[in-house]
């Protein structure tokens, strides 16, 4: 490779990075689904949403692996712990929102089959403004992880 071509490629790469950053809506990282214990018909998915664009909202999710996906928060009220279904999860501009064990999560209701470590769950996230995001979420064994509320 001569130097001119090298410079051009670097140039293109830089331009590409800038272009994608400008167009970028929410991005997803650290996604995982909890492997299901025997007998369980539900599962929970967790991920981190980084929203480098204008304010948006996560408004829903779908997966062929479950009958229905719901956005949930874990709330403590009068000494009782409720899972509360949310209509949406707000994503303020520039914010990072974490869905973590014992907090916000996506609940998979009526899973089609048990979810085993090593499996992947296809999932589509819907946003109020941004385009859908397709995910291939790895199933992980929660017992082997260090989790915190």
């Amino acid at each position: 490779m001569n130097t001119t071509t090298g410079r051009c490629l670097a140039c293109l790469a830089a331009f590409g990075a800038l272009a994608s950053a400008a167009a970028q809506g929410p991005t997803i990282s650290a996604a995982w689904v909890r492997a299901t214990p025997p007998g369980a018909s539900t599962a929970a998915a967790y991920f981190t949403i980084t929203n480098s664009a204008a304010a948006d909202r996560l408004i829903g999710a779908e997966s062929p692996a479950a009958r229905e996906l719901q956005l949930h928060a874990q709330v403590d009220e009068n000494g009782l712990r409720h899972m509360r279904q949310l209509a949406d999860i707000p994503l303020p501009a520039g914010a990072t929102v974490r869905l973590t064990a014992g907090g916000l999560h996506v609940m998979l209701m009526d899973i089609a089959a048990p979810l085993k470590p090593g499996d992947h769950v296809a999932m589509t996230l819907h946003f109020a403004n941004a385009a859908d995001i397709e995910l291939h979420v790895p199933v992980q064994d929660g017992r082997a992880m260090t989790e915190h509320h």
């Binding site: 025997p38 369980a40 539900t42 929970a44 874990q74 009782l80 064990a101 014992g102 209701m109 929660g142």
Partner: protein
């Protein structure tokens, strides 16, 4: 006053001091021990341990289980259900860590761990047994009628209810996330409230066990 005391008045002081010392030592033996206050934990220790109601439950093998079966070892009870995808697995993972941490301890090593279902309509004994065994092979599952479970929950500082307006098949149950601690007499002894960390539970349990040794 004797001649000896008249000529040596300091003897009187010595005698008085000696009497005082003897009196204090005697008193310290005779005085009943001051009651030891329950230790501060992440939750509370009952000032008076409470007997459980005479409920009839069913264990994971489908056998009859009564509070008498809690006698002989410390017990940890968590009220949850298998349909719960987030906090219940998390709580049982934490309990499995607690069990590992306590395994080598004289008292804690024999402690038993129970998931008490708050969803008897869907959680059959068999389903519960498989579910708890996933977290630890020695974990126990308990269920029973709605009424029996409610009586047990209410006596142990726990609660659960099914919020209205949900479908009959796909409903969520609201429940307290307390960890109930029963003493080897099978009485409610302490309640550990969330947030739960295995190391915190182990530290609290050590205080609870130490406190019980001071109780009659």
């Amino acid at each position: 006053m004797s001649a000896a005391l008249q000529s040596r008045p300091w003897l009187f002081v010595v005698a008085a001091l000696a009497a005082m010392v003897v009196g204090l030592i005697t008193a310290s033996y005779l005085r009943p021990a001051l009651p030891v206050a329950p230790p501060a934990i992440g939750g509370y220790v009952l000032p008076q341990p409470r007997d459980l109601p005479r409920v009839e439950l069913v264990d994971g093998d489908g056998n009859r289980f009564t509070p008498a079966d809690f006698v002989g070892h410390w017990s940890f009870l968590y009220f949850g259900y298998t349909y719960c995808p987030d906090v219940c697995p998390l709580a049982l993972i934490e309990l499995a860590s607690v069990k590992t941490l306590l395994a080598t301890e004289a008292t804690g090593g024999s402690a038993q761990y129970y998931l008490v279902s708050v969803d008897p309509a869907r959680d059959t004994p068999e389903r519960l047994r498989e579910y708890v065994a996933y977290f630890d092979a020695s974990f126990h599952a308990l269920t029973g009628s709605q009424d029996e479970l409610r009586r047990l929950a209410e006596t142990t500082g726990s609660a659960f209810f099914i919020p209205e307006g949900q479908s009959t098949d796909h409903y969520l149950v609201s429940h307290s996330s307390n960890l109930v601690v029963l003493d080897p007499a099978g009485r409610l002894f302490a309640v550990i409230t969330p947030p739960h960390e295995p190391s915190g539970i182990v530290a609290d349990f050590a205080k609870i066990v130490a406190y019980r040794t001071t109780q009659p």
